[in-house]
């Protein structure tokens, strides 16, 4: 796609300064060439202004007098960049219709504007909405509901009875609606607890590659509207995640934990079961959350990196930290009694 810079200004709510020109691509400021637009979000990169070969730039007003090319001026260059990129690079869309190499139950209901790729298997009772796209090799089990314009990439598995809203993006390798991990000890062995809830996903949700979301034991697992999940996240049975919460890769959330709206949860975080996390909580990468968080704010755990040599010494002391604290208390007592 190509756009006139003036049209990009109109459609992104930014202000054109300088001559109009044709924009065909977007690139990093250091590698942009003719026909490209680039953006500067961080003023530290302003030095690139004079040397960039971009045809246009997205900048804040304060950089305008240093800008040698036409510009889109905005208070939020990163947001305008995203809007421009969505115009220049619209999502790839497969042709509507069912591939002759897909296996689709006669008892499934597929909107005629939906697209089902080769190798997909669609079971009885499934409903797929207008403009939805199901990638190659996907398996959509019985009675699944997929909303309109939702795009499911290749090799995704959606378990029976799960519901996915409109305008979602589900990346490859995702598994939705697998059994939750529930057992009861019965002598030396463990008896499986049937998992009879579903997974219910709102609208405008994005789920990264190889992320897994279990169905609920009794109640549903719920992913709110606008939630963004990165790759390789694990969401256990009965979890609920509030609207517009964003979670980075490789994080695991244990059963029946409820997470509020608008949270930002880093990568490699662990959250144990049956907790409540308030709205607008920030949890930094690798934090281990073992108690509920009732107030918005930023929370952390983990320990800082060091050279292995130093780390060994400090780490060994950690194992006697309680003793060290007692020794300090003793010293304080001695000092006091010596007064």
């Amino acid at each position: 796609m190509a756009y006139l810079l003036a049209d990009l200004a109109t459609q992104t709510g930014s202000k054109l300064e300088g001559d109009d020109c044709l924009i065909e691509g977007i690139a990093e400021i250091s590698s942009a060439g003719s026909g490209d637009i680039a953006f500067i979000s961080n003023p530290a990169y302003a030095e690139h202004l004079s040397t960039s070969s971009a045809s246009a730039l997205i900048i804040k007003a304060e950089l305008l007098d240093k800008c040698p090319v036409p510009a889109l001026v905005t208070e939020n260059p990163r947001l305008v960049y995203a809007k421009v990129a969505n115009l220049l690079y619209p999502p790839r869309k497969s042709d509507a219709g069912v591939s002759p190499n897909a296996v689709v139950s006669s008892l499934a209901s597929i909107d005629k504007t939906a697209s089902i790729a080769a190798g997909a298997v669609i079971s009885a009772g499934v409903s797929i909405g207008a403009g939805a796209q199901i990638g190659a090799g996907c398996v959509i089990e019985n009675d699944v509901v997929i909303g309109s314009n939702t795009r499911i990439s290749a090799n995704v598995t959606v378990g029976y009875g799960c519901q996915i809203g409109d305008d979602c993006i589900i990346h490859s390798g995702v598994v939705l609606g697998t059994d939750g991990f529930g057992f009861v000890k019965d002598g030396d062995t463990f008896l499986k607890i049937p998992q009879i809830g579903n997974v219910v996903i709102g609208n405008n949700v994005e789920i990264g590659a190889n992320t897994t979301i279990d169905r609920g034991a009794l109640e549903n697992t719920i992913i709110g509207n606008g939630v963004k999940l990165d790759n390789q996240i694990q969401i256990a049975h009965g979890v609920s995640i509030g609207d517009n919460t964003v979670i980075s890769s490789s994080t695991a959330i244990a059963g029946s934990t409820h997470i509020g709206r608008g949270c930002l949860i880093g990568g490699l975080v662990g959250i144990v079961e049956h907790l409540n996390i308030a709205d607008n909580v920030v949890i930094t990468g690798r934090t281990m959350v073992t108690r509920s968080i009732t107030q918005s704010g930023s929370y952390s755990s983990s320990t800082p990196m060091d050279t292995t040599e130093n780390w060994r010494k400090n780490s060994a002391r950690f194992r006697r930290l309680d003793e060290l604290a007692r020794r300090v208390a003793n010293l304080e007592k001695t000092n006091k009694s010596a007064d």
Copy 2:
């Protein structure tokens, strides 16, 4: 499925108190309605007894006088709940037979009561037992043996030569029998070590979505009877896991480590290579295990969550913990010599 409460009592070894009635479903006590049975495991929830709309409850004898509806009385409500749920919600079973859309080698041996779904690929030399179910899109490589009544969900990959016992459940996205991660340095590059062992899985094992188990380098990787593995677990080459050990999600176990029977291993745990973990060991979530554990008991590592502000201060001190300990020792020496 629907059962008379009296039949549920008989089949679960619990005692019916009150009138018989028809039970059609199971639900949380707070959302249960007519025809549902619910359970109270934790006496703290006894307050719900009077307000629940459930048709029957599973309770301990001590709650019987407060229970307004018929009850199944037992010392272990959670176990009876699991048994009831298994009766009311038997596993979904696909029809026996090979889908015309599966690709099955003429050199594979498929029991006539087994079910092979659309899009599955079954290679030469594979043996699939009575009542086994292979989901859509599964790839079962050469010479794999799958026991009777084992259920393999959609999009699972089982590498050549692997063996899976009876009554197992393998969830979607699981990869069994991929090459272990073995290399030898050869100058600046690394030479691959062929991985010639297999993966051997016992009976009554459950493996969660997107979990990966590598084949052994020389010896087999072994998963004992009754082992339960959650989602996104990584088991490296040559690991063995003893019977009835349970491991939560996102845990990684490195090569040639041997884990005993009856262990409970939390989520996000890491266990390094060539260790031995005794029977009946509990390892709490996020623990990093870098030495063998020779005695049953509970083991932990990681640090507690705090506000990011407090955490930053404490965490910075961690990098000088050894120095702090030396300073305390110095103070003690000074105090002593001052005596």
Copy 3:
């Protein structure tokens, strides 16, 4: 395959000591039988020399006088073992040609010596090199380039436009070229940033099961020659990894981080975004890397395992470590002023 020991000596650059014999397999020294060769890398295992039933051994010269069977003598028994294993167990090779059960676009270019298994879906514009093997159920999207002799196991997804070099091994469940995790806050919701870079993978790269590598936001994500990635690793958009770097399982690397050549990165490591890691850096398992590393060397974080009882006490003290340090400083001041 079977080889004469003398031929193995020649082909691996080791020295035959003793009589020639036929070698048909390789095994652990404790389980090796007739026709097997075993190796001793660690002199601690020399006790097995006298009891092993192996037909031949791979050893260092210093063990030769204790060795009761013919031997391949070398300074690096592990390397010779790997070379012998590669001769005895050459990679499994599928027959050349396209399975009648694969779905291959007429606009794809498949070398006639390549192999495409059943259930694979190959899109328009794809180029697959000589001797390459594409496993069952793989989905190769538009315009992907796959080099010669690269082997892709079952159920792998390669996103449009990605490039994979020669002699690579990609294990099952891998997802390459999914969208990076990029959003801009737009009011209460998040706007997706189109991810327009690709993934470019060098030669002789191995990628473990269920590992995910995102396409770049603007620039490509780059995996250098000879890189070895274990299972369940997450590589975010715009990351670059230098030649011959090795990364163990379940590690996550955030966006735009650049990792040098020849690094050894342990399992469960987290590396945050926009860092630079120098060449030849070692990062031990579970380390959280939150700042760039400019010098080669070994780096660590995490805390040591203990009994849960001890850990609780020490861990509780961690939350007041800053206060403890201040108290120690106070004591030092008091002591000094008391001088």
